[in-house]
Every structure is written in C-alpha cells, then in structure tokens.
C-alpha cells in the first residue's frame, strides 16, 4: 500500500497510507487461494466471510463485497485501518506459512472506503428486520457500543446510543489520531448506523444524568448494553507524576483528536507542545502519542518501554511507522522518578532493565539492573501505561456485579447479573482492541435479542 513519505508526514496530520487503487486491490485479491476451508475467518473476532468478500473483489463486484463485509461488520473502513490483522485473520492465512499473507485488512479498507465514497443513498445499508417493538439503550458510542447498536438495529429493535462526550466514536474519536483514522471515515461509518435507524444522543453521562436502573424503569427501555469503555488513565505511581508537563496519553490525544488542538488558536483548545518528549509505554496508544508529539513540532521524541521491542503490544506496522518518522526507542528502561524545576518537568530518572528467562507461561519478566540509573532529559512526559475502570456508571447501579478492579462481570455472551443488562468491551475485559470490543458488542446484541424475544 502506498504511503506518505515519512519526513513529510511527520509534520502533518494527514493519513499515512493512501489505500489501494482498484488495480492494486485486484492484484492483491488474486493472491488469495480461495481455500476450501478458509482459516482466516476463524481468526476474525466478528467472523467476517473473508473468502467471500475477497472473491467479490476478484470478480470485480465491489458492491457485493461491501454487502458481505457489512453482514458482520458495521465499520469496515475503521477496522480495515485499526484492527491488528497480523495477529488475527492474516495470521491464520495459509500463505503466512509460505511467506506473506493476503493483506486482508487493506482489502477490507479498500471496500469500506469505496462504500463511503458514494453519497449515503449509494452506500450499502444492511437490511433491517421488521420492527420487534422493543427499545434498547446502548451506553457508549465506542467500538463495542456501535457494533452492538448496529446488530440490534438489524435485528429489528429500536436503538438509542447514549454518549457522554459531544461527539460519537469513543476511543475511535478521542484516542486514534487523524493520521491513522481520519474523522471523515469515522463519521461516515456512524452515518451508516444512523441510516439503520439508530438514534444517537450525545452529552449524556449515564450514571450521572440518567442511571442504568432508570433507563429500564423510567425511560422505557427493555434492555441496556453497557459499552462505556475502560475510562480512567493509570499513572506511573512515581514521584513527580503531577508535575506540569506530565500528561496521560488520553488527555494529550483527546485535546488533539477530539478537540483539534493541533489547529489552536483557530480551534480553542490548547495543547502543550513539548520540545523533548518522553512517552512511557509500548502499546498502540503510546505509538499514537509519540507520533502526535512529533507532528506538534517536537525536536525529539523518546519511547520509553521496560521490555524490548519484541514484547511491545503495539502493532508492528505502527512501530515501523513511528521509527520511520523519527521516534527514538529507549527499550529496557523503567522510569523511577520524574524530576522537575519550578513545577515543570525537566527529565525522567530511569533504571535499566533486563529480561528474565521465560517463565512457565513463556513470559520474560523485566527486572532492574543494579545501579543503572540514568536521566533522560525532557520537557514533556506522556504516560501511556493503561487504564482502569471508570466508577461513574457502576456507582449509580449498585446491584451490578463488578470484579475487584471495578470491571463488570458478565457471561461469555455479555449477560450481567442484572436482568436485561448486558455489557462488553473494555469495561468488561480491561483495555483491548477495537475489534475485540466490537465482537463483544455483537455477541451481546445476539444475547439481548434472544432475551427480549423470550
């Protein structure tokens, strides 16, 4: 897939990959062996008929390809961009053993984009079952909520999504930068959901403005799906974490992505533009924060991670992009203190780490190297070390069973201990991927449908 030049793209928020042309898509699709027993499909958390949609590309019937995709996935243009395909469908592709798998994600993106490129009338809107007469509330418009809402609408239920922020999309909107997922793509896919009849209510914090029990008892909903996301950022727990210039990745990315702080002062939200930025963490969020910091004009951006690059949970493609753009990797380093002057960050004191031999689970634990402390000079620290459960919603639904760490307890299909209340995504599993959250949302929708109709 052609990409913007690393030097040029490191200063703009335009998307990195240009996407396939129809010719490239055809060429790539032709590599697919159209296996009798397509294992790729097993690797997809929402079980897309991958062989089917690639077959449609080979036949030049893009419209049918889109229809096949949308049977299972309401957000193909989003998933084509942000799913970790290399660990899912593509890893299961038989060609992987012989070299390179079919670029399933890029083909999905190609079809998703060609669908969005039409005006809404021309877009593929999945068929909707006759009205069931039931009303469902979906809490949160992130990947879990959107997938659940789409599925419920297709099954014939009236769906209202409640979103706490002013814009829909959850982490897709506040967390994932424009250069990886343009807003116009996200908005386009959410429009398709509206075309299915899904109602979207923003500015509504469930747990504060209305509670889950109230949605059921007073607002006339027959079932509720909770996909409120993980929520609260975790900080390092080191001295100095509240110095000026230390941010959570969520704050930094929300200012830039949701509130367009990179256009300040034409937009009204400011963002701190560091010169030397240290990002702590090794996941996709850390990559996004590091690459965003570069685009805001940082001279140096360090990624500080306590294991090695092999253990980093971020997608390989994003790690590669980050390195190409100039992010410097400081592996096997763990911050022990953030230091500052006059209330502002001046550096991180870090300890060198080494990995132990693999334990029974095969995981190599990082341990400190004695007397190896050193200082990384920086004026900004962005912490991307994870999230924990947001207590807002659960505090207002005391009967809801939670884990010790505040996550909602559910069965495999998203059923909670409250009748008619289902949950899925990060608020159940802790931080995971977009597609896993979508899979959980869809599964819960099927369970809700069954419960409603019985």
């Amino acid at each position: 897939m052609p990409e913007r030049d690393p030097k040029q793209r490191a200063s703009v928020f335009d998307e990195v990959g240009y996407g396939y042309t129809p010719e490239m898509a055809l060429e790539e699709a032709m590599r697919c062996l159209q296996c009798k027993n397509p294992t790729c499909q097993e690797g997809c958390p929402v079980n897309i008929d991958i062989k089917g949609f690639i077959g449609a590309i080979i036949e030049g019937d893009h419209k049918r390809g889109v229809e096949i995709l949308k049977e299972r996935n309401a957000l193909p243009a989003v998933c084509g961009r942000v799913c970790p395909q290399e660990e899912q469908c593509e890893q299961m592709c038989v060609l992987t053993k012989k070299g390179e798998s079919v670029a399933i994600g890029r083909l999905e993106r190609f079809l998703g984009d060609s669908d969005l490129a039409c005006e809404l009338d021309g877009r593929c809107v999945p068929a909707v079952a006759p009205s069931s007469g039931f009303r469902c509330a979906v809490v949160g418009s992130g990947p879990a909520g959107l997938a659940c809402a789409g599925e419920l609408a297709q099954l014939g239920h009236a769906v209202t999504i409640f979103e706490s922020l002013h814009a829909p999309g959850g982490v897709l909107s506040y967390g994932i930068p424009e250069f990886r997922l343009p807003k116009v793509i996200l908005d386009g896919e959410i429009e398709t959901l509206s075309a299915l009849g899904v109602e979207l209510v923003t500015d509504t914090v469930v747990g504060q403005l209305v509670t889950v029990p109230e949605l059921l008892a007073e607002e006339g909903f027959d079932a509720v799906f909770i996909g409120s996301g993980a929520g609260l950022p975790v900080f390092l727990g080191t001295p100095g974490e509240n110095l000026n210039g230390v941010f959570s990745a969520n704050e930094f990315l929300t200012r830039v992505n949701l509130l367009r702080a990179y256009e300040f002062p034409t937009s009204d939200t400011p963002v701190w533009r560091g010169r030397k930025v240290a990002v702590i963490g090794g996941g996709n969020v850390a990559m996004d924060a590091a690459r965003t910091a570069l685009r805001l004009g940082a001279e140096e951006v360090f990624l500080v991670y306590r294991r090695t690059e092999d253990e980093m949970p971020a997608r390989k493609e994003e790690v590669h992009h980050a390195r190409e753009e100039g992010v410097e990797f400081k592996m096997l380093c763990s911050p022990s203190e953030i230091v500052g002057r006059d209330g502002f960050v001046t550096g991180i004191v870090a300890t060198r780490m080494e990995l132990t031999e693999p334990d029974e689970s095969g995981r190599r634990a990082p341990v400190c190297v004695m007397d190896s402390e050193f200082t990384i000079e920086c004026d900004t620290v962005i912490s991307a070390v994870g999230t924990r459960a947001n207590p807002l919603l659960s505090k207002a639904a005391p009967e809801l069973e939670l884990t010790k760490r505040g996550y909602i307890v559910t069965d495999d299909d998203g059923t909670t201990n409250m009748p008619g209340v289902y949950a899925g995504g990060d608020i159940v599993t802790g931080a995971a991927t977009v597609i896993l959250a979508m899979g959980a949302g869809k599964k819960a929708a099927v369970a809700m449908d069954r419960w409603l109709r019985n």
């Binding site: 706490s164 922020l165 002013h166 506040y174 923003t202 500015d203 509504t204 914090v205 504060q208 403005l209 209305v210 996301g229 929520g231 609260l232 950022p233 900080f235 974490e241 509240n242 000026n244 210039g245 941010f247 959570s248 969520n250 704050e251 929300t254 200012r255 509130l259 367009r260 256009e263 300040f264 002062p265 034409t266 937009s267 009204d268 939200t269 400011p270 701190w272 209330g343 947001n390 207590p391 807002l392």
Partner: protein, 279 residues
C-alpha cells in the same frame, strides 16, 4: 443545543447565564458542575452550578471573563444557544449530618457557595456564610444569600469598600475561636482555600474545599484534573470536586492551574483583537 434563557451581568467581568436543560435541572445537586462548549471549534470548560429549577427546567452558572471562551460566553445573549452542556458531573456536596457549618466563598466561588449554603440550610444545618471579594463591585449573589435562613452573614472586601476590610480568614478564625462551627466549606481561588484550610486546621475543624483544576472531558477519562490528596492522586472530576482541605496539596494545584496560562492569554488576545470579524 441548549438555548440561553437568562443572562445577567453581575460585575464588570462576571456574568450569569441560564440555559434550558430540563434533564440536567432535574438531577442537579449543590456542589456539582457542568462541562460547556460553545460551538464546534470550542473548548470544553468546567463551570459550577450556581442555581437551577427542576420545575422550570433551567440551570444557571456564573463565570468570570478571563480567557477566550469565557470572553466569547460573555457576548452571548438570551436567544443564542450553547452547543454542548454536559452534567451534572462530580459528587454532590455532602449535607447529611452537618450541624453548624461555615461556608466561605471568594470571588466567583460565591457562585458555588450559594447553592451549597442553600442545600445545607434545607438539610437543617445552622449555616454561617462568609463571602469575600477584592472590592464592592466584585461581590456577587449578596441578595440571594441574605434571603437564606443563615445564622450569620459576613461580607469582607480587600479594600473595605463593602463589609469588613480584610480577608475571609479573619471572620473564619473568629468563628473557630468562639467554637461556633463544627465544619467548614470553602470555595474560591486556590490560595484562598489554602488559607481557609490552614486557619481551620489549628482548631481541628474539618474543612471541605471545592477544587477547580483544569479539566478536559470531566468524566474521568483524561486525568488532567488530578490533585494530590494525602499524597494520593485523585481526579477532580469523578472523585471531587470536593476534597478534604487539610489533605490537599495546594501548591501543586496552583502550579498545575497555570500550565496553559500563556496559551490562553494568546488565544484571548487574538480573539479580543479580531473580535468583530470572528463573530
């Protein structure tokens, strides 16, 4: 959209705006706050409820014109609308079991002190209110407060242009010395809250402060509003905004409030100069 149904200028730089928001009005409690955004390029700013009516479906907030967004807000009139109003947010101020309390409001903080004093009085507490401002012109909600059933009402100004000349901590200390209060609630500039807490600490009078750190989403997601309380990191938006004044690290709070001062001044200067054409 949230239509503006009320506007009042309280002093040169302080304004009160009311918007129609029936659902929020039905849930609002004293001490809670809102996140407000004017338009689609606007920032989200936290504002505390100063008043509301569940029956009539409106909420009000008071703000001081300090940066671009508040400047822009001050130009809006009845009939205009705000694009986004999110709330009620934060934990309501606790009123249960309060017997004799002093409520101290400074500057625009009086906008919070008023509904808190009203809620305390409604809950049966004996309420003393001390409000302070730099001068007479900056005093707000005096009439509304006088209309409440208060034990005492003390006005203090820095320059003596109204009430007693001095600082709010002086009458607060007198109340503590006389043993006439069991607890205190202070809201206003961080430095004022810090000194109120320092005053009551000597008398072991439990003191709640209503903090105003920088916020972005207001729902716990971003962590911008973190404050150190008893050495622990707490989030102003979901754990607060009320905290134990004797445990808050005020130096850190004041430092963190200044992170964006330069950028905000820049935006406001830009806005003020090009004011006409931007609108």
């Amino acid at each position: 959209m949230f239509p503006i149904v009320h506007k009042r200028q309280l002093s040169d730089a302080v304004f009160e705006i009311g918007v129609s928001a029936p659902k929020i009005a039905a849930k609002a409690r004293a001490g809670q706050f809102l996140m407000v955004r004017i338009d689609d390029r606007g920032e989200r700013i936290p504002l505390t409820f100063s008043d509301w009516s569940a029956e009539e479906g409106w909420i009000r907030f008071i703000f001081m014109r300090v940066g671009k967004t508040t400047h822009q807000l001050s130009h809006l009139e009845v009939g205009d609308s705000l694009l986004d109003v999110v709330g009620p947010l934060g934990v309501p101020t606790h009123t249960d079991g309060v017997d004799r309390i002093a409520i101290i409001g400074g500057g625009v903080g009086v906008a919070v002190a008023y509904p808190v004093a009203r809620a305390m009085a409604d809950a049966g507490a004996k309420v003393s209110v001390i409000i302070g401002a730099r001068n007479k012109e900056l005093l707000i909600l005096e009439d509304e407060l006088r209309a409440l059933p208060l034990e005492r009402f003390v006005v203090v100004t820095d320059d003596g242009s109204a009430g007693i000349k001095g600082l709010v901590t002086h009458p607060l200390k007198e109340l503590c010395e006389a043993g006439e209060i069991d607890e205190a609630f202070a809201v206003g500039p961080a430095i004022m809250m810090k000194f109120c807490a320092a005053t009551t600490r000597d008398f072991s009078v439990p003191t709640t402060v209503s903090l105003n750190p920088i916020m972005v989403d207001g729902t716990g997601m971003c962590g911008a509003c973190r404050v150190s309380v008893d050495g622990e990191t707490k989030f102003g938006c979901v754990d607060g905004p009320d905290f134990d004044g004797h445990a808050v690290d005020f130096e850190e709070l004041m430092s963190r409030q200044r992170v964006y001062s330069d950028l905000e001044r820049e935006a406001d200067a830009d806005y003020s100069q090009g004011c006409q054409c931007h609108l």
